[in-house]
Symmetry: D2
Subunit: 335 residues, 4 copies
């Protein structure tokens, strides 16, 4: 049994995390923080949790959190996370961070894309990127895990095996991603006001989405060379789900079957990546920790298509998978 705290528990990833942890036989949720006034019960903020959890939101210091919990899931925004996490680590907690604060290894890249100096630059480059399919060994027993972004997970799982096996060129990769609206969070914005985004699809943050350097870095490390993807996110009128259509050039003469086989081989032992022959829809993965991946060869271009639930494999499910690895619980527990 592990005593768990969640920081920043009012958003969508937090409520998804809580639901997963409620199913986890070894998880004991002991604290949930928020700056909401009056310490309301969590169920006041997330009515779906009514009668399922008896815990109030509290505005706690890192020390108070550490005095109660062994493991902390931080759902705080970037910047805020890196301000708190060093204190938690010093106090002996293990931390799974949902923010981007510890994903990038270079503080300058962070500053460039996030527009602010990093609060804890010395730790960058020493934190494992919490994608078990690539970094399981380093996650086992880790004290701090940087939980991947939702878009990067979909892009990396589809492309990494092909880069690693040298089947595709690392140059000129295009990542065209489509996400449901929960990915934009619970903060009110005109772009996610129902009558604005319903019945509409649009691209956004073209050329400047902050998940870009994260995809670059991980694919680059896998490929062993610099990778700079062209990444275009789109907002789709649905609650959850990401579909990524990635375009790359084969590095040599390949068949579609070879590409598919490379994916199958890579993920043969993976519990949460399904290499499929048919074309997936995000709904096939809704509410699950699966990422479905397939590939096609069209006019000399490799098209990889992947999908997942942005709140599960793209966030809270991945976090629970990391939690299981850190603490030595069976990797699929509660997932």
């Amino acid at each position: 049994m592990t005593r768990i705290a969640i920081l920043g528990a009012t958003g969508y990833t937090a409520v998804e995390l809580i639901k997963l942890l409620l199913r986890h036989p070894e998880a004991d949720l002991v604290a949930a923080t928020s700056r909401q006034e009056g310490n309301p019960p969590i169920a006041m903020v997330h009515p779906s949790l009514h009668r399922r959890i008896d815990l109030n939101l509290e505005d706690l210091t890192p020390q108070e959190v550490a005095s109660r919990a062994e493991c902390v899931f931080s759902c705080l925004p970037h910047g805020a996370s890196a301000s708190v996490i060093p204190h938690l680590l010093d106090a002996g907690c293990r931390v799974i961070d949902f923010s981007a604060d510890y994903r990038l290894s270079d503080p300058q890249v962070f500053a460039q894309w996030y527009g602010e100096k990093h609060h804890d630059p010395d730790r960058l480059g020493k934190v494992v990127y919490g994608l078990p399919e690539l970094f399981r060994e380093q996650i086992l027993g880790a004290r701090l895990v940087a939980n991947p972004g939702c878009y990067p997970t979909s892009a990396i799982l589809a492309l990494a095996p092909l880069l690693k096996s040298g089947l595709i060129e690392p140059e000129g990769i295009i990542v065209d991603s489509k996400s449901g609206v929960s990915g934009a969070g619970r903060t009110l914005k005109l772009t996610t006001h129902y009558p604005e985004c319903n019945e509409s699809i649009s691209a956004y943050n073209v050329g400047r989405h902050r998940h870009t350097p994260e995809i670059d870095q991980i694919l680059g490390s896998v490929a062993g060379t610099k990778v700079e993807v062209v990444f275009t996110p789109h907002l789709v009128p649905m609650d959850r789900g990401i579909l990524t259509t990635a375009y790359s050039r084969p590095a040599r003469q390949v068949t579609e079957e070879e590409v598919l086989q490379a994916l199958r081989d890579f993920y043969a032992e993976e519990p949460f990546v399904r290499v499929i022959d048919h074309l997936p829809g995000t709904k096939d993965t809704m509410g699950t920790n699966f990422c479905d991946v397939t590939a096609r060869l069209v006019r000399g271009r490799v098209i990889t298509i992947s999908c997942l639930d942005n709140l599960v494999k793209g966030a809270s499910g991945a976090a629970v998978q990391n939690f299981n690895l850190i603490y030595g619980y069976p990797e699929t527990t509660a997932l």
Copy 2:
């Protein structure tokens, strides 16, 4: 005043067409055909037309149609259209064909993508492709117009100016398109059954969608060289709208502003193409005949983004625009 017949009036493009024609001061809708039994009023099949039109669906021969109407809009499926249209032309009608039957100039390409021999091969190559922004002169007074496909319109309008001006390479163009469900028609299919496609996005017909050769052909003619795009359509949970994100390589050193200016110059006089600086959503064009186009330059790649309403500029609005050009009515009438 022009007497008009609609063939195959039970689908979504037909009802959209009827609504546009009801606003058209020079359109006199005199016949609407269907194989529905019992000659029901159109409003029985399209309840939104109740009290707006007093016309029954009839199962008419081409001769009967020609005896009543001067101008025929054929909303029949491919194959069926080419079986009927020669008779209508012989009888003196002008025809605007919504199907793919007269879009391609090469019967072999047709046979390859549509899996059947063309019914009227000799006419191929002599029919104008009804995209006024490229072929307005040939449409004026035409006897037969091949109304463009919805995806091709979105892709061609975004790419043609850049190919024509030599700003982008004709090789390696990627067209990643996202469409609402009405584009799949009114025929019942599991993939468009509400609980299947709602809250999900998926790619379909990857590498084999029939709009591919149409995009190839028109862009090729504009570029003056062979073009083979990689075209990936996606199904989006919304009624209507297409967003196309196209990726190409600049043919020379260009700035984003140059690309945008090329688009602005090309469409300076066009009533229905809006070159915009912001990133559009399909909703901005919903129910209108506009196509919104913009461009970005990202990591050395040109990204063009276009959107339109697949039932209007992608089908029935374009048809009315063509109708106006054929008959010399102001081009924007009823649009």
Copy 3:
């Protein structure tokens, strides 16, 4: 040609109104107000209006408005409307008010439901309720029209003919209404944040929705006796549309056909009410000024079902209909 100003032009009813007026041959939109800084073009706030209108939002005084426009559509919220409208009337403008400020005839009822004193109480009771199907004569040439609420329009059009003809009891009427999200306006709220309201239906403001006294008052005046409806609004995950299912008791032995005939008789000459035999969906009326009405007799209870587009017949379409009546234009112009 009538010079028109719109007050509060940033919301959904305003943009819908602008689109209708753009189709109106006698409407000359000369001003649009808002407190937005910097006098941006309207199309900056409503991208769908790009290239369709060349007008900037301005923060104008009533005097400035009156110096430019003859007719003012006020899309201001309640309270704000009544603060401005007296000045506009004094300056000679005619006004169509979208707010609730002049709908109720009793300032005390207003204060009770809106929680504030009325700014212009002396005028209450002298302003025509802009529902042409009931009050056409008074609207003709009126200087001030109180444009009806969206829910009241759907409820009143379904029930008024039956109350007037004495077919149903005025007591115990239940009005169960379902509305799309645009009815909640463009102001950001958690309840209309996409991931909150999508894929969910809920009742809201049960027993205290402010459209209740408006329904009471008009049905009461029609019935010639006090009416107090039980009104329950629901939020439906769709952009637009209201469906109202109303339950009442027959005042005497009636057949379903008699009820339908009473509706047909009442609306025989009405251009925008369609009495139908089938069960309507809100989509049948989407984008139109129609209200579809039908009735059923079930286990001794009269069920009337009505639907309309809350932004058209429920707001801006009704306003244009009123505009046409005030100025003597054909009632259906632009509709």
Copy 4:
């Protein structure tokens, strides 16, 4: 461990059931039937089940089913269920029937509403209605359970406590229900074709929905007198969820708090009914076996509002709850 078979495994209730059973430590799914040709793996028909279950659809006789399974969940349509179930019972199986075949106690009422003679009339009236909140004792160890309809569950749970305690009149109850589209099943119909039902709400089967007599019967048995509700179902553009707004008259002077307290008292020990003070949305219960219930007193009328997930508490979750009761597993297992 209980060996389980599912009859009619291609629909939405079946796939939901399978997902729940996969989480159940005592459930061993040994057979799934369908008339699909070629015995495809279930995951071919339900792609979300890929890699989660290794079972093929088979066209089995009742005897073959009984030779493998102890417990059978029948997801067959009405009529078909009653043709098979007697054989399964004779062969010693216990059966949980999703169809309406064993819900009504009177074969004549069945014939009247379902338009056909019952196949197994002698058993009617002896089968427990599988709503544990009312009939838990009879479900324990039952050989055959009639799993309730989705609408009836929402209506009965909201009204039964008030009828039982004599707080409301059994006469004149109005049940206005709103359901997501999955409730209409997986069979293709125009009404559930995406572009038809998306962005629209409509009433359907007014006065003749087959869940009416089921609500009548159970509420009547609870009230100890004849009940005939006016039941109006509506189709809402969302995947899943039912919200029921029921209107009744208090049988005596009551306060809102008394009504709420009656609900709280009745469900004090129930694991899956949450009596709440706020107004619920169906999303609060999505994917769970909860039914949320609240009440308001408005102008002398009691309004009860309840919501649930039609595929879980309205179908497959209820079935698993019944399964747990029958076999003595903890009632909340897998839920």
